[in-house]
């Protein structure tokens, strides 16, 4: 029986980061992983989709925008298979990178499925390992279908991102059920690779968790690009054929029919909490199915067992899991880490243009009856955006009227994902809109729009 200070179930972005931080703090750490290191994020999530989205971006660029900027190419041909194989290479490089990091920090990687046993023990195959200080559950989540309406994942006509990432060619037509970040990204990808894409969302807007203005901006861009969207649409029936699926939708009292070669399920994820001995070891789940944790320490209801990442609750984002990994490693090492501010986790959708946000949406501010003021700046008034021919989008900052606290920030822009962190830093340090403006922004940059939106919230934008 091998002993470690800390054993982590799951080598995704929460688990492997937790292992590295634990090793830095002098703990002996082991990661149990049944598949490739890096988890969903590195292998079948964040990373390969970003590779495909880059292909999609270039395809759109050369198909639609090149002539205007003085570059001509011949007839444009796209090949999803090639793009897919490149995305696999990128994913593999990243997974290898995690392997290297594990070696560098002398973290033991145990291959197999771990089962939690009472008393901080973990069984992998025939071996039982013991954790002297803590076991950390970082078992992640997986895609799920909606079997209730006949949309059970079948790997051929009804697929999830797991299969979409390995297709040899783009389908001629694709219906995407669920228009959150994953649905919108795949709609963007397959549209660029020539598929006729229909995007279906049950809630009243696509990107329903984002600010309404961001949703509207993307809906408008998608319409222009030929992506058909149905928001506030309920799939009532699914007829799954051998090479075709027919969906019946109810939209605003009317019935619509959507036919597609394939249906991509992108409506939510299920957490991996079953068949790993959680319950038997005293780890309870909350009413929403996540592992119940004490937010002060992330300890579960079983003493010495912690949970991080998707299993520990929303938002189900890699960067939130990584931070929890660092946090738990420090707690286990006896430190008092800075509390995690769950209201300050940035959220990004990598469609084109990108959508990035932090804090409250305007609707949430209304619900909370906050006294707020909105500042906006469109990229159509930004020099750098005009020069790059990427003027879609805006920066929107919602500030508290009295003190200037940044309650929320929303960016739709070609590089929104890179821009949001200025506002994450501002919020983490309690800078107000004034300090954001006081920091001199280089000209010409897209980030100037952030300073302008901050100024606009105070009624004194300069360049509009």
């Amino acid at each position: 029986m091998a002993q470690f200070d800390i054993i982590i179930l799951g080598g995704g972005p929460a688990g492997y980061v937790c292992a590295i931080r634990a090793a830095q703090l002098g703990l002996s750490a082991a990661v149990v992983e049944k598949d490739k290191l890096g988890g969903v994020c590195v292998n079948i999530g964040c990373i390969p989709t970003k590779a495909l989205l880059h292909s999609a971006y270039v395809a759109n660029l050369v198909s639609h925008d090149l002539k205007d900027i003085g570059v001509e190419v011949g007839a444009v041909k796209t090949d999803y298979g090639v793009a897919m194989r490149r995305s696999r290479k990128v994913a593999e490089q990243n997974s290898k990178g995690v392997e290297f990091l594990m070696k560098k920090h002398k973290v033991t990687v145990i291959k197999g499925t771990g089962t939690l046993l009472p008393g901080r023990k973990v069984k992998v195959g025939a071996d039982t390992h013991e954790a002297r200080k803590a076991v950390v559950l970082a078992t992640g989540s997986r895609v799920k279908g909606i079997p209730q309406i006949g949309l059970e994942l079948n790997g051929s006509t009804v697929i999830s991102s797991d299969e979409a990432l390995f297709l040899e060619q783009a389908p001629a037509s694709l219906a995407v059920v669920g228009a959150g970040a994953v649905g919108c990204e795949f709609a963007d990808i397959f549209n660029a690779f020539g598929a006729k894409v229909t995007l279906i969302e049950a809630l009243p807007r696509i990107l329903p968790l984002e600010d309404a203005e961001a949703s509207d901006a993307i809906a408008k861009v998608y319409r222009k690009r030929g992506i058909q969207t149905f928001a506030g649409a309920k799939v009532t029936k699914a007829a799954v054929g051998k090479d075709k699926v027919t969906l019946t939708l109810e939209v605003a009292g009317k019935t619509e029919t959507v036919e597609a070669d394939r249906v991509l399920m992108a409506a939510g994820r299920a957490v991996n909490t079953e068949n790993m001995g959680f319950k038997e070891a005293g780890v309870q789940l909350n009413e929403r199915g996540f592992v119940k944790v004490d937010l002060k320490t992330l300890e579960t209801t079983a003493q010495g067992v912690y949970a991080i990442g998707d299993v520990a609750g929303p938002p189900m984002l890699a960067h939130k899991g990584s931070r929890e990994g660092v946090f738990v490693a420090e707690v286990v090492a006896g430190q008092h880490p800075h509390p995690i501010r769950y209201d300050n986790v940035p959220s990004v959708t990598y469609c084109h243009p990108e959508v990035a946000s932090i804090g409250l949406t305007e609707d949430q501010c209304k619900e909370k009856k906050l006294d707020y003021q909105v500042g906006r700046f469109p990229f159509s008034a930004n020099g750098r955006a005009r020069a790059s021919n990427e003027t879609d989008g805006f920066v929107k900052i919602i500030r508290d009227r009295k003190y200037g606290e940044i309650l929320g920030a929303h960016i739709v822009a070609s590089h929104a994902s890179e821009m949001i962190h200025e506002l994450a830093v501002a919020r983490e340090n309690e800078y107000t809109v004034e300090e954001v403006d006081l920091a001199i922004h280089a000209h010409p940059t897209l980030s100037e729009a952030i300073a302008e939106a901050a100024l606009d919230s105070m009624g004194r934008a300069l360049n509009i």
Binding site: K402, Y403, G404, N429, E430, Y431, T432, E434, E435
Partner: protein, 417 residues
């Protein structure tokens, strides 16, 4: 080479020391370890010991002077040595004007650690954070503090490196409002309170009493108050119209607040190693809620009119029942009032809400025979019971407070006098 003798931190919390008496005269030979002077710290009188041998060349400060930790108090060197360079910059200001720590040169004390032990080998950064130019606070916290009149120097930051962030302000009380032009015996200083370190006597009393009765050694004083005039006053106000309608509880809160002003000894917090005498009066008012009770605070109740107190108490009690109070609205009280009069309770004892040192339990106003001017008459009477933390309030102190309260409530005009 001459060596400076600095005021050392002789206790972990010491920020300044009073030089009680020099034990060596100028020109006296001293050996390392010799007692140079007696220094009174926040805790006790301690010896200031020479860290090097030589001759005491100069007593820089006179006996009886108080200087901050690490200020220059004397110089040891070779007899006849020129120490004018060392004293440069010390002139003019005198001992009182000496800058603390940060401008003082590095002390040349011997490596033997001072009484504070390993924590601060050089007393270059004493706990006088208030004197530091740079106050670490987020821009948002600064704005909110300015707006609410909160003194950031009095706040312990919980952010990285002790930075003050918004959540640290949640329980902070605003600075004293502009000092009222009353002649009441309250210190007009800007501070919200005065901390008085415990004397040995106080410490012993506290320890023995706590051993005897529990963590908060409580005693009780009951008085019966004639509420006839308060009743009339309330009726008269009611006649003014709907906004004149106030409750007896409002009158009691006002009376308590004014009595506390006259008896600061009862307006205090027990703080384990000290007693915090508040210069502000914040009356906590026990409100029953669905499954317990909560004590919203009427801040500066002594400075508020009955009408304000009445409006505020209605609002606070209402929101308390809806569980909509913000933390700053139910913390920071300096004294509590608990009223069960509406339940027709004649008299009861209330439990102290630490760190406050007193709570007044209000009974019902009952018509009773009482002797007035030598004849028995039916009067409206109310019994109040004061629970006192004996570590802070002694019997006579509590009794004097109750007598003042009785006078105020029996002569309501005295409250506006």
């Amino acid at each position: 080479m001459a060596t400076k003798v600095l005021m050392e931190a002789l206790s972990p919390t010491m920020e300044e020391g009073r030089l009680v008496e020099w034990k060596k005269k100028e020109g006296d030979p001293v050996a390392a370890g010799d007692v140079l002077a007696e220094v009174e710290t926040d805790k006790a009188v301690m010896d200031l010991v020479a860290r090097v041998g030589g001759t005491l060349l100069k007593q820089v400060i006179a006996a009886g002077t108080t200087v901050p930790v690490s200020a220059l108090v004397g110089v040891i060197g070779k007899a006849g040595e020129d120490i004018s360079a060392l004293l440069e910059g010390q002139r003019g200001g005198g001992a009182e004007g000496q800058k603390p720590a940060k401008s003082a040169p590095a002390p040349a004390i011997a490596p033997t650690a001072p009484a504070t032990g390993a924590v601060a080998p050089t007393p270059a950064a004493p706990a006088t954070s208030a004197s530091s130019d740079r106050l670490k606070a987020s821009p948002l916290a600064r704005k909110v503090a300015t707006d609410r009149g909160i003194d950031l120097r009095a706040i312990q930051g919980s952010g990285p490196e002790g930075r003050i962030v918004l959540r640290d302000l949640a329980t902070a009380a605003p600075m004293a409002a502009a000092a009222p032009s009353s002649s009441l015996p309250f210190r007009p200083s800007g501070a919200a309170y005065t901390d008085v370190p415990l004397t040995q006597l106080r410490k012993t009393i506290a320890k023995r009493l706590a051993t005897s009765i529990g963590p908060v050694p409580t005693f009780y004083l009951t008085a019966e108050i004639d509420m006839e005039r308060a009743w009339e006053a309330r009726e008269a106000l009611k006649a003014l119209g709907p906004e004149g309608k106030i409750s007896f509880n409002d009158i009691v809160v006002k009376g308590v607040a004014l009595a506390l002003r006259q008896h600061p000894a009862c307006n205090a917090w027990w703080q384990d190693d000290r007693i915090r005498y508040w210069n502000e009066v914040h009356v906590s008012m026990a409100v029953a809620v669905e499954d317990g009770l909560i004590t919203p605070v009427i801040r500066h109740a002594d400075l508020k009119s009955l009408r304000q107190i009445s409006a505020e108490s209605k609002d606070l009690a209402g929101r308390a029942r809806e569980r909509k109070l913000k933390p700053e609205e139910y913390t920071g009280g300096t004294f509590s009032v608990s009223n069960l009069g509406m339940f027709e309770i004649d008299q009861f004892t209330a439990i102290i809400n630490p760190p406050e040192a007193g709570i007044l339990a209000i009974g019902a106003i009952v018509e009773q025979p009482a002797v007035v001017d030598g004849a028995v008459a039916v009067r409206r009477r109310m019994r109040v019971t004061l629970s006192c933390d004996h570590r802070v309030i002694d019997g006579a102190t509590g009794a004097a407070f109750l007598r003042t309260l009785k006078t105020l409530l029996e002569n309501p005009l005295a409250m506006v006098w």
